[in-house]
């Protein structure tokens, strides 16, 4: 029994909310090339704020490259990136990046705890002393990923799944608003996968944004609420329900693979 005026006010508020809804990260016309074959071609993408987005596509589709180029780890040939509607350089403190596990030398002489402290670098600066509260933060982050007992271990002694959790703990220590994860579930055990997804969902519930490169089609609908389907160019993007369909999957992966796998996914097949 709402009055017309109230309804109009509510509509306006909704419109306002929609128009001020910032995307966590916005990419426009991004092309990246190793040598003379583009790995990504003219990709536009909007990663919604407060959502969990999966970047999906076959091997060599440019999924990891998308994250690395957006963050300036590899150079872009063209294109623009903004984070929370501002340039990347301004928004650095709001981003946490979790690289692929294999991208570092796990034989490096350092402990689990020290790796997590690296997440506090922007707070500590060049010479800031590590105080009790920093230690507290680092330990809490380790605890959130279930690794508090391993704080004093040398990082090389960890299993693959444990290494991934340490990387996640480091990103938690950064206290960011946007979490970018490169293949967080690659080569990890089931317990780690569950632990990581629990942490990511917790982040989402706190209003943070999560973007993960993902390659297990079977878990997309369970884990994520949005997808970006990528194969050098963008194939589709949006909420899982509308963008992750048999048609977009076959457009991304190719016909043959899709027909075999889509049945397992139990997706609504678009007629």
């Amino acid at each position: 029994m709402t009055t017309p005026e109230l309804r109009i006010a509510a509509d306006n508020a909704a419109k306002m909310a929609a128009s001020t809804q910032v995307s966590a990260m916005k990419i426009r016309g991004m092309t990246v090339s190793y040598g003379e074959k583009p790995a990504l071609f003219s990709v536009d993408a909007d990663f919604a704020s407060g959502a969990m987005t999966a970047i999906i596509g076959p091997n060599g589709a440019g999924k990891s490259t998308l994250l690395k180029a957006a963050l300036g780890i590899v150079p872009r040939l063209s294109g623009e990136v903004s984070v929370f509607d501002r340039p990347l350089s301004v928004s650095r403190d709001r981003i946490a990046y979790v690289p692929q596990r294999a991208s570092v030398d796990w034989d490096f002489p350092t402990r689990v705890f020290d790796v997590v402290l690296m997440g506090l670098y922007r707070q500590l600066g060049l010479l800031g002393r590590v105080k009790a509260r920093h230690r507290q933060t680092a330990l809490e982050c380790l605890d959130r990923v279930g690794m508090a007992d391993f704080a004093d271990r040398q990082i090389g002694q960890l299993s693959g799944g444990q290494q991934q959790r340490v990387f996640l703990a480091r990103s938690l220590a950064q206290g960011a608003d946007l979490y970018l994860l490169d293949e967080p579930f690659a080569g990890v055990d089931a317990a780690t996968e569950a632990a990581i997804i629990a942490v990511l969902k917790e982040l989402k519930n706190q209003g943070k944004s999560v973007v993960a490169v993902h390659h297990d089609l079977a878990t997309v609908t369970r884990y994520f609420d949005r997808v970006l389907l990528l194969n050098v160019n963008k194939v589709a993007e949006g909420p899982v329900a509308s963008a992750f369909t048999s048609e977009t999957i076959s457009q991304t992966y190719g016909g043959r693979l899709a027909s075999a796998q889509i049945d397992q996914l139990g997706l609504l097949v678009v007629p």
């Binding site: 991208s103 570092v104 796990w106 034989d107 002489p109 350092t110 922007r122 090389g156």
Partner: protein
């Protein structure tokens, strides 16, 4: 005996130890970054640097030589980087091209120019003359408090002391970014660290250390000290801080033991003359590395990923 020791051995040992430490500190990070051979490349291009400095200034005064050598090291590093990127050549080969070509140029210049009147030759550059850095004015330990005697300390001592102190301070100051960029370059970039500049800074510091050490002890020790003490230290521990302390200890031990063995060793086995101190220091550091490789508590690889094989 003690007077003779202070006069003939104290200053060379001090200079050797400081040089060894100044090189070993950046060496720790170079080894972890798989850039150990940058030290090798730098020490080769020091020769063309000092020859050019000599040809330009006509003197063998220390300061122009040091500047020339430092400039050559920076030029070499830039050339290696340029060839690597522009020519898409793997780093080892790019280094090999640059340092051999520059070294060859240095030797040619040296042969072509008239350096007969000055003490400037290839062998000296390679082997140094640690033995000649004696403290003639010393009469015993009491000279350490005697201002007139102190005024006549070899100038190399002051130079290497300043450089060693600078290297120590810089390592301490930039510890955190160095550790972070060495361990995880991609992550370091995302938090806004100037990764490329830090990498270049490390190489420049290594070059300065190499040049100052080279002035005193020759290029063999320089290469050996960049690599052997940190490499041995790497096999002792899994903590970077502890590793750096071990490397300092190994560097000092190599310098002291090497000098003593070179000076007194031959006498013990009945030979008359001392052997090359620089060569002996390098040899001792190699023995230490060998022992660490055989018995070091952390000698095996543990991690997987990029470094594993």
């Amino acid at each position: 005996m003690s007077a003779e020791f202070v006069q003939l051995s104290l200053t060379p040992i001090l200079i050797g130890t400081l040089a060894a430490i100044a090189c070993a500190l950046p060496g720790n990070f170079l080894i972890l970054r798989k850039q150990a051979l940058i030290g090798d490349a730098i020490s080769h291009v020091v020769l063309p640097g000092i020859v050019v400095a000599f040809l330009l200034t006509g003197t063998i005064a220390a300061v122009p030589m040091l500047i020339g050598a430092g400039a050559a090291a920076v030029v070499a590093v830039l050339l290696i980087e340029a060839i690597k990127r522009l020519g898409r050549i793997d780093p080892g080969a790019a280094m090999g091209v640059v340092f051999t070509a520059l070294f060859a140029g240095g030797v040619l210049l040296l042969e072509q120019s008239d350096t007969s009147g000055v003490h400037l030759d290839v062998e000296h550059a390679l082997m140094g003359s640690l033995e000649s850095l004696i403290w003639l004015d010393a009469t015993g330990w009491s000279s350490l408090t005697d201002p007139t005697a102190l005024a006549h300390l070899p100038p190399e001592l002051a130079r290497i002391a300043v450089v060693a102190a600078a290297v120590i301070v810089l390592t301490w100051l930039f510890w955190r970014p160095l550790e972070l960029t060495t361990f995880d370059e991609g992550f370091a970039r995302t938090i806004g660290l100037p990764v490329t500049a830090i990498g270049f800074g490390l190489v420049v510091v290594a070059a300065v250390a190499a040049v100052a050490a080279f002035d005193a002890v020759g290029s063999i020790i320089v290469i050996a000290m960049f690599i052997c003490p940190p490499a041995a230290a790497r096999l002792m521990t899994d903590r970077l801080t502890v590793q750096v302390w071990w490397s300092v200890a190994f560097a000092s031990l190599s310098a002291i033991l090497g000098y003593i063995l070179a000076g007194y060793g031959p006498l013990w086995i009945g030979l008359n003359d001392a052997v090359s101190a620089a060569g002996m220091v390098a040899t001792v550091s190699g023995v230490i590395l060998m022992l660490a490789a055989l018995f070091g508590p952390r000698r095996s690889r543990v991690g997987e990923g990029k470094g594993g094989a």
